[in-house]
Amino acid sequence: MRRIALLAAAIALPAAAEPTQQELEKIMQRDFHARGQATMDRLSQDRLQRVCTEAHDRPAPDVAKALEADELKTIAYPQGSLIGDWKRGEAIAQSGRGLTWNDKPGQPAGGSCYNCHELSPQELSHGTLGPSLRGFGKARGAGADVQRYVYGKIYNAKAYNACSQMPRFGVSGTLSAEQIRDLVGLLLDPASPVNQ
Amino acid sequence: MAAGPMKMRANLGAGFTDVRVLMNHPMETGLRKDADGNLVPMHFIQSLTVKVNGRAVLDAQISQAVSRNPVFSFRLKGGTKGDKIEVGWLDNQGESNRIEADVA
């Protein structure tokens, strides 16, 4: 108890002032512990997270543009077609597994897509945090540009919307290139339930 | 596993008595596996009896389709303030419990 009290004094905040992001990070470093694959380095806020937090997720247009340009540089496109297997894509979209301290390290993660989005009309249990993706490919076709956009968006959503709530699935290592291709298939393949 | 607590409320309405009983019971179906992958044995309430002033008025046979910590609510015809309601259960492993309450 005493050690914690001393640490608290060391990170003492001025009464009733809003703590800075750096102060928050220090507090969290003190108040969290690693468990499973969830290691403490995950608490290091990167520049994008800091800027978005400070701007309440509404950065000035020029700031947003600059962030997006930086994020765009992170996207690595695989060779060949970006459209994978929509059936595997549906399974990946359904799965919410991966990266938690409960998940077995090394097991493939899912995209948690249905947590936030409507996709296949057959799946009624979908979230509304993100826009509906029903009919996505039907409306846009499956040309090279659309493929690159969809792949890029899943790999790093922040490249298109700086403070988006959508995770950066490729950058974070959550999904492999193969998995993202399969999700592109789910969205763009004319045979996919999304486009029926 | 010792039988958990029960809680009952019996309230008089216009010509009827509403009773609600809360029962603590795992209601294991026998189909569930524990963390080690072993089947958890069947353990569920099989019969419920309701008595009013010592006289049996309801005999129910329930199954493992009922979920854990069942809530049993029913309506009796008539009733007066101070009537003694008793609800008892017996499970497939021979454990039992019962509770008494006065109609309020």
Partner: protein, 263 residues
């Protein structure tokens, strides 16, 4: 329980029948509220509160939860608050651990060995939380906000609520920042807004029907961070208490309903 299956089936109906689902879910919630398994946890919690324990072999009945030693009425509704003897802001669960160590002589390690229980075996803190929270039924929620440390705790909680962090860039606000959204079929209240925070905070801790577990706010903070893909928060840490403080303060004024029920 057929109603449970019926409500669940209706919950998965199409958008066109969303209103019917919402109505059925409301009916189900009302039914469960009128005869909640949470009350069984309150009963067991009362027994535990009165049971002597620890090396000093005393019960927790003289524990001061902020309203005076052994005073339970309104205690939960007035937490989190600053405690002079501990020199820190505490929520219910941290205060209970404090009483277990000071009154009963238990070590902190022993008192926190099993903070979150299972359906088969709730933890001591879950049972005690159910009982003590139940004693605040009908009382207006009013956490401590006057002491400088209470203000700091609130500000820290608020900052944490919006702090984006982790491999998925989530903050609490990622899910709880906008009213009218849901994750899968679970509605997400905008918890930084009083209007939406009030009914939610007024029904914690709660019995969770889908897992038959009794869940507390410390558990909720833990499980949210797990899903945010961060490492694990320390139980009863300043971080977790600050978040609970922020949420409770945002809900202030609401009449506390007693332990509630969740899906």
């Amino acid at each position: 329980m057929r109603l449970l299956a019926l409500a669940a089936a209706l919950a998965l109906s199409s958008g066109a029948r969303a209103d019917d689902s919402a109505k059925e879910i409301q009916r189900y919630r009302q039914m469960v509220a009128e005869g909640s398994p949470a009350e069984l946890f309150e009963l067991e919690g009362e027994t535990l509160w009165k049971k002597p324990g620890g090396p000093k072999n005393v019960s927790l009945e003289r524990c001061d939860l902020g309203e005076g030693p052994g005073v339970l009425k309104a205690a939960y509704a007035h937490l989190p608050r600053y405690f002079k003897d501990a020199e820190r802001v505490m929520d219910l669960e941290t205060r209970l651990v404090y009483c277990m160590t000071t009154l009963q002589g238990r070590s902190r390690a022993d008192a926190t060995a099993r903070v979150f229980g299972t359906a088969d075996r709730p933890s001591e803190l879950e049972l005690l939380s159910a009982y003590i929270a139940g004693q605040s039924r009908g009382v207006a929620i009013e956490p401590g906000m006057a002491h400088p440390k209470e203000k700091t705790s609130y500000e820290l909680g608020r900052a944490l609520f919006f702090h984006r962090v982790g491999p998925w860039d989530f903050s609490c606000a990622s899910c709880h920042g906008e009213e009218g959204k849901r994750i899968r079929m679970q509605e997400l209240p905008a918890l930084h807004e009083a209007k939406y925070a009030r009914p939610v905070i007024a029904s914690w801790p709660a019995y969770r029907v889908s897992t038959s577990q009794f869940i507390t706010l410390q558990w909720r903070m833990n499980d949210c961070y797990r899903q945010m893909r961060t490492p694990e928060p320390n139980f009863g840490s300043e971080t977790t208490v600050a978040l609970i403080h922020f949420l409770t303060a945002t809900a202030q004024g609401e009449t506390y309903h007693g332990p509630g029920n969740k899906r």
